[in-house]
Symmetry: C2
């Protein structure tokens, strides 16, 4: 049922060439792009430089890019720059905000091209685009996974009224080699590597939360962009390594409310190097406790019918965060403020996108 | 994290040899067992003969089995035999009822041993047993799929309090070659074959329904047996081919209520021959309409706190079926009666299992 070219065909023009930005947060030279050249070079890059703004980041020749350091962020956002994290890859969400494209792909600079079981290099970006351009199936589970892939379909017993699916807002890709484990698991299993290539794309069902990793992630900025805020992490904050998790929980709740879909599975990238588990434990420490309260909060959150745009949903969510999570730690009051600032900054830089795309709007509250 | 032998090791004693029955519904000689001999021969078979009871079913030599035909069913259940379908593979659930074992594996007689991508024969039963003996994760989605498989674990952001998981009640296996499509899809895609081997086992999240196929299915009879009723199908009924779907919807709602898990994915079997799509359309016709009302019914059904055993849950569900689905068609009033008869017959044949296993009981209503 796939409506986009299969992976064996090489499109003459790269898919969505003028409609997608690649966002990369970094503190170092971007030599990793050499390996991605065949797949990324046709696209525009938005590089968000973290840390010391006086440091020069080398970008391999031939790539079309814009680069923002902390000085740029402060200049562009003024006092609202307070919502963008510093010394943490959470700063990447600034790139989502300044993009003018419909789609975003974001990747970490320690992620390389993986190979499929036949030994072919995986064009991760192309697979994300396929995931985003075909519908998701959040309202009922299909046991043969993505029914829109070649050679698959809806199985017996899948209600026909639900086969149109829902617009896909998010495509969450996975990682071979170093799995995305928390510090305690890293400490306990230092040698574990992910070698299992699971040839599947699936929709995370409506009402189910998942741990969204920001390493290898595509999304439709028009449908869900304002919910992709990576929170307050790193410098001056009591927590790190929960930036993508926070964005994932918020985005999933809003996708469920607006009738949008979230996919996970293919494509894989090759994650080269495990980060230091001791440093990670320091960053995660508070999050390990807090997530025990955050998950029930997000599992029980409902949004009102008046919240018909992502921005409205996000503001409503910020109020609930302030009200219900401030008692967990005062940090969540600050975070709720930052969520509001983020939306204000988003709307300032994106004056025309405050109304949601019609198809998603129509799907609001669809069961 | 797997606590059972890996697939490469050959256990000296077959797993659960004395705790599992294989249930096979059939109308023909069971030559298909020859291919399964290395895997099935150590186990006890329960063969439920459908159709003409005077026909002799040949079972290959060396298998340990008991066989029930319609006369046996009528003799054992008396008037309660009315709840067991005739001229439909739904009759298989009689085998679940007469078993005295803790685990059931059921397979269709047109299913053969499949091969994994390395060309090795897949021991489907062994994989089902592994799925059933390790916990499920219904309360939060793990992006690396089953965290209890070798080489996998819970990813960053997975709440630690949920990592104990839930007891696994059901293991739903898949099919290579002929996919389990409905008649309309069969008619539209007569040549489609499933060639994609997806190397994953995953838990269907709490609150999500799925289309359960009875072709290749394992379950824990102590935990969920009384909910595995395959309904009234076939001879004298206005519907067929929804037997396993019905059982799946009922069982999933009850598993969610009791805090039990349902897995899907591996193992694959080789499904040899597509059934006739015209015959299938005749059987499915009503179901195609009815399922549009059944799915919202099951999605919105809640069970009371007093329903602490599978039997109590099932009786409560039968009342809701009568109350809310009889208006769809009078058939559902008959089905509700049969659901009650089924539980009465189950309890008669299984006097000691009316109380649920303690671990599941304790998990009731766990979020």
């Amino acid at each position: 049922m796939a409506g986009v070219p299969s992976s064996s065909s090489v499109p003459t023009t790269p898919l969505l060439k003028d409609e997608l930005d690649i966002v990369i947060p970094t503190i170092r030279n971007l030599d990793f792009l050499e390996m991605w050249r065949p797949f990324f070079q046709p696209y525009h890059l938005i590089i968000v430089q973290d840390g010391d703004p006086s440091k020069i980041i080398n970008v391999p020749k031939g790539f079309d890019y814009e680069l923002y350091n902390r000085n740029d962020i402060n200049r562009i956002l003024g006092p609202k720059a307070s919502c963008i994290s510093f010394k943490d890859s959470a700063c990447r969400c600034f790139g989502y905000m300044v993009s003018k494209k419909k789609y975003i792909y974001t990747i970490d600079d320690d992620c390389f091209v993986a190979k499929d079981p036949s030994g072919n290099q995986i064009n991760a970006l192309e697979q994300h685009i396929k995931n985003l351009l075909t519908p998701a199936t959040p309202f009922f589970f299909n046991t043969l996974y993505d029914p829109f892939r070649d050679g698959a379909d809806f199985v017996r017993g899948y209600p026909f009224s639900l086969r149109e699916g829902a617009p896909t807002a998010l495509s969450h890709g996975l990682w071979l080699n170093i799995p995305d484990y928390d510090a305690p698991t890293q400490l306990v299993k230092p040698r574990e590597r992910n070698t299992r290539y699971v040839d599947a794309v699936l929709t995370i069902p409506k009402g189910t939360l998942f741990p969204m990793c920001g390493m290898n992630l595509g999304f439709n900025r028009e449908l869900i962009g304002p919910a992709m805020y990576f929170g307050l992490m790193g410098d001056g904050q009591p927590i790190g390594r929960y930036d993508d998790m926070w964005a994932g929980w918020c985005a999933k709740v809003i996708c469920d409310h607006l009738g949008l879909g979230v996919k996970t599975g293919l494509p894989y990238i090759w994650h080269s190097k495990a980060s230091n588990p001791f440093t990670n434990l320091k960053k995660e420490y508070n999050g390990i406790f807090w997530q025990e309260e955050l998950i029930p909060f997000f599992q029980s959150t409902t949004l009102s019918k008046e919240s018909t745009t992502v921005q409205k949903c996000y503001i409503e969510l910020s109020k609930q965060v302030r009200e219900k999570l401030s008692k967990v730690d005062p940090y969540f009051g600050k975070l709720a403020d930052a969520m509001v600032t983020w939306i204000e900054a988003w709307d300032e830089l994106n004056p025309s996108t405050t109304a949601i795309a019609p198809e998603a709007n129509g799907a609001a509250d669809k069961k």
